[in-house]
C-alpha cells in the first residue's frame, strides 16, 4: 500500500540523479566551468530570465508555435477529412503529400524568405507548412482506417453518407488526428526555434540561445535551452490532456 503510493515519485529519481551528476561534475571541476555552469547558477539565470528577457522570448516562441499550429490545424483537418473520405482522391495525392512531408521544412526557409520577407510571417508559415503535412497525413489516415464494421453498423441503422461522415468517420479519426496534432506541434516548435536562430531574428527562444552562446553567457544559454525543453514537453502534455478529455475512447 505504502510502496504503491510512493511509486508516483519514481520519475523524480531520474531528475534527482541528473542534477546530482551535474552538481558533482561542476563541483569536482570535471568539465570546464565556462562550458558547464553549476545547476544553481543555471537555475538562477532561468528564474531571473523568465521574469524578464527570457520570459519575453519564451512568450514570443509560444505565440509563433501556437499560430503555426492553429493555422496548420485549420487547413489540414478539413482537407484531411476530404482526402481520407475518398480513397481514390487520397491515392492520387499520396505521393505529393508524402514527398513534401519527407522534405525537411528547413530547406524551405530561403523560399519563404523570398515570399514573406524576414518578419514573423516567414517563421510561422514555414512551421505551418511542416505541421500541415504531418497533420493532414494523420487525419486522412484516421478517416481512411475507420473501422469498417462501425461504418456498416451506421449504414445498417439508416445513416446517410453525410451522417456516416460526421457521426462515425470524424470521431473515428480523432485519435489519429491527435497523433498528428502532437507531432505537428513538436515539428512547428523545432522549425520556429531554428528560424529564430538564423533568420534575422530579434527575439524568441532560438534567438535567446544563439545570442547567449555568442556572448558566452553559458548560464543564460542553458536556461534558454531548458525553457525550450519545458515548452516542448508542456505542449505535448497539453495535447495529451486535451485528448484524454475529449477522446476518452482512444486506444480502448
Amino acid at each position: 500500500m505504502n510502496t504503491k503510493r510512493l511509486e508516483v515519485f519514481l520519475p523524480l529519481i531520474g531528475v534527482a540523479g541528473l542534477v546530482a551528476i551535474w552538481s558533482g561534475a561542476t563541483f569536482l571541476k570535471l568539465v570546464d566551468p565556462v562550458l558547464l555552469p553549476s545547476p544553481a547558477s543555471t537555475f538562477d539565470a532561468f528564474w531571473k530570465g523568465m521574469d524578464g528577457r527570457l520570459g519575453f522570448d519564451f512568450a514570443k516562441t509560444v505565440y509563433r508555435t501556437a499560430m503555426a499550429t492553429v493555422i496548420a490545424a485549420v487547413i489540414a483537418i478539413p482537407l484531411g477529412i476530404v482526402l481520407g473520405a475518398s480513397e481514390r482522391v487520397y491515392r492520387s495525392l499520396e505521393f505529393v503529400i508524402d514527398f513534401f512531408r519527407s522534405t525537411p521544412a528547413s530547406a524551405m526557409f530561403p523560399l519563404f524568405l523570398v515570399l514573406f520577407g524576414v518578419g514573423d510571417e516567414t517563421k510561422i508559415s514555414v512551421a505551418a507548412f511542416g505541421a500541415i503535412l504531418v497533420i493532414l497525413f494523420n487525419v486522412a489516415y484516421g478517416v481512411m482506417n475507420a473501422r469498417k464494421t462501425r461504418l456498416l453498423a451506421a449504414k445498417v441503422m439508416g445513416a446517410s453518407r453525410l451522417r456516416v461522415l460526421f457521426d462515425v468517420m470524424l470521431l473515428e479519426s480523432l485519435p489519429q488526428t491527435f497523433v498528428g496534432l502532437r507531432n505537428g506541434v513538436s515539428l512547428a516548435l523545432v522549425i520556429i526555434v531554428v528560424a529564430e536562430m538564423f533568420i534575422g531574428s530579434q527575439d524568441g527562444l532560438g534567438h535567446s540561445v544563439f545570442e547567449a552562446q555568442q556572448l558566452f553567457d553559458m548560464p543564460r544559454m542553458y536556461a534558454a535551452i531548458f525553457a525550450a525543453g519545458a515548452l516542448g514537453y508542456g505542449l505535448n502534455l497539453l495535447f495529451l490532456l486535451i485528448e484524454r478529455r475529449f477522446v476518452h475512447w482512444s486506444g480502448k
Binding site: A153, L171, H248
Partner: protein
C-alpha cells in the same frame, strides 16, 4: 427432405403457398427468389430460392465458406446481390424496419457514446425526437429487465454486456426482422451460455423473426425453430430442419431425446455436405 423441397420449390404465382403439414403455419415473412452472387470466380449463390417463416428463429449452419454470413448480409443489404429478389411481406428492405447484430461488438458499437445513447442511436436516424428516443429506450430496457449500468461507455463493459447492448440497439426500433451474424463467437463459453438464454428470452418476448448465423451446431439447434443447413457453394438448401423442443429450452433440453436426435440429423446432413467436396 420435404421441408427443404418446399423451401426450394419455385412459386409460379410469386406468392408462396403454405403447404399444410410440411410448410409454415403462417405466410412466409421473407421470400428469396433467384438469388445469385459470385466473388471473383467463386459462385456462392446461383439461382437460390428460400422462404423464411414469420416469427421464427432460423439458424443458418453449413460448411466453412459456404456463404452463411453472405446470405444474411445480402438479405440485410450489407452487400449487393448480383441477381435475384428479396422481399419482406412483398416489400423491399428500405420499406421495413430491421436490426442487425455484428459478431464484433467491439467494433460495431460507438465508443464515444454511452451505452444508452448507443441503444438510442437508430431512433435518431429515424428522426425520432430526443424525448421520445429516451422514453422508448427506457421502455425497452425496462421491458427486457436488463440490469447493466447503461451510463457506462461500451469499453468499460464486459464482452457479453457489450453484445447485449448491441442486441438492444438492434431491437429498439421494434424491427420486423433481426439478423445476427455469429453474435456469440467472440465471447467466452460461460458468457455464450448466458447470452443464448438472453437471446431466447428476447425472442420469446418479442416474437420477432430472427435469422442467426452460427458456427456451433449445438447453439444453432438449441436456439432455432428451424435449422437452415446449407451445402458447399454454390449454396443449396441441404435441409431446413424443424426443431420441435419446447421453449424455454434449458440445459435439460440438451440431453432431451428429441433434441439429441435433431442435432444428430443435422450433423449427418452437414457431414454429407462436407464430404461432397
Amino acid at each position: 427432405m420435404t421441408v427443404a423441397q418446399h423451401a426450394l420449390r419455385p412459386d409460379p404465382s410469386g406468392v408462396p403457398s403454405t403447404a399444410p403439414g410440411v410448410g409454415f403455419s403462417k405466410r412466409p415473412h421473407v421470400t428469396i427468389r433467384g438469388l445469385s452472387k459470385r466473388f471473383d470466380t467463386a459462385v456462392i449463390y446461383d439461382n437460390f430460392d428460400l422462404d423464411i417463416p414469420r416469427g421464427e428463429l432460423i439458424s443458418v449452419f453449413g460448411p466453412n465458406g459456404c456463404g452463411k454470413s453472405t446470405l444474411i448480409n445480402m438479405i440485410a443489404g450489407l452487400i449487393p446481390v448480383d441477381a435475384g429478389e428479396i422481399l419482406f411481406d412483398g416489400m423491399r428492405l428500405d420499406e421495413i424496419k430491421f436490426g442487425y447484430v455484428f459478431q464484433n461488438y467491439r467494433e460495431a458499437l460507438f465508443p464515444w457514446m454511452r451505452a444508452f445513447d448507443n441503444i438510442a442511436y437508430p431512433l435518431k436516424m429515424m428522426n425520432v425526437p430526443a424525448a421520445e428516443r429516451k422514453a422508448r429506450t427506457e421502455k425497452l430496457v425496462a421491458h427486457l429487465g436488463v440490469k447493466i449500468d447503461l451510463n457506462l461507455y461500451p469499453y468499460k463493459m464486459s464482452g457479453g454486456q457489450q453484445q447485449l447492448v448491441s442486441i438492444m440497439r438492434a431491437l429498439v426500433v421494434e424491427p420486423e426482422i433481426l439478423f445476427l451474424d455469429e453474435p456469440f463467437s467472440a465471447l467466452d463459453y460461460e458468457m455464450t451460455l448466458f447470452m443464448r438464454d438472453q437471446l431466447q428470452k428476447l425472442f420469446m418476448e418479442s416474437g420477432t423473426t430472427m435469422v442467426l448465423v452460427s458456427h456451433d451446431l449445438e447453439e444453432a439447434v438449441y436456439l432455432a425453430d428451424r435449422v437452415l443447413l446449407l451445402s458447399r457453394h454454390p449454396a443449396r438448401v441441404a435441409d431446413f430442419k424443424v426443431v420441435r423442443s419446447a421453449r424455454p429450452r434449458t440445459d435439460a433440453t440438451l440431453s432431451d431425446a428429441d433434441f439429441v436426435q435433431t442435432k444428430a440429423h443435422c450433423l449427418d446432413v452437414f457431414q454429407r455436405e462436407v464430404r461432397r467436396a
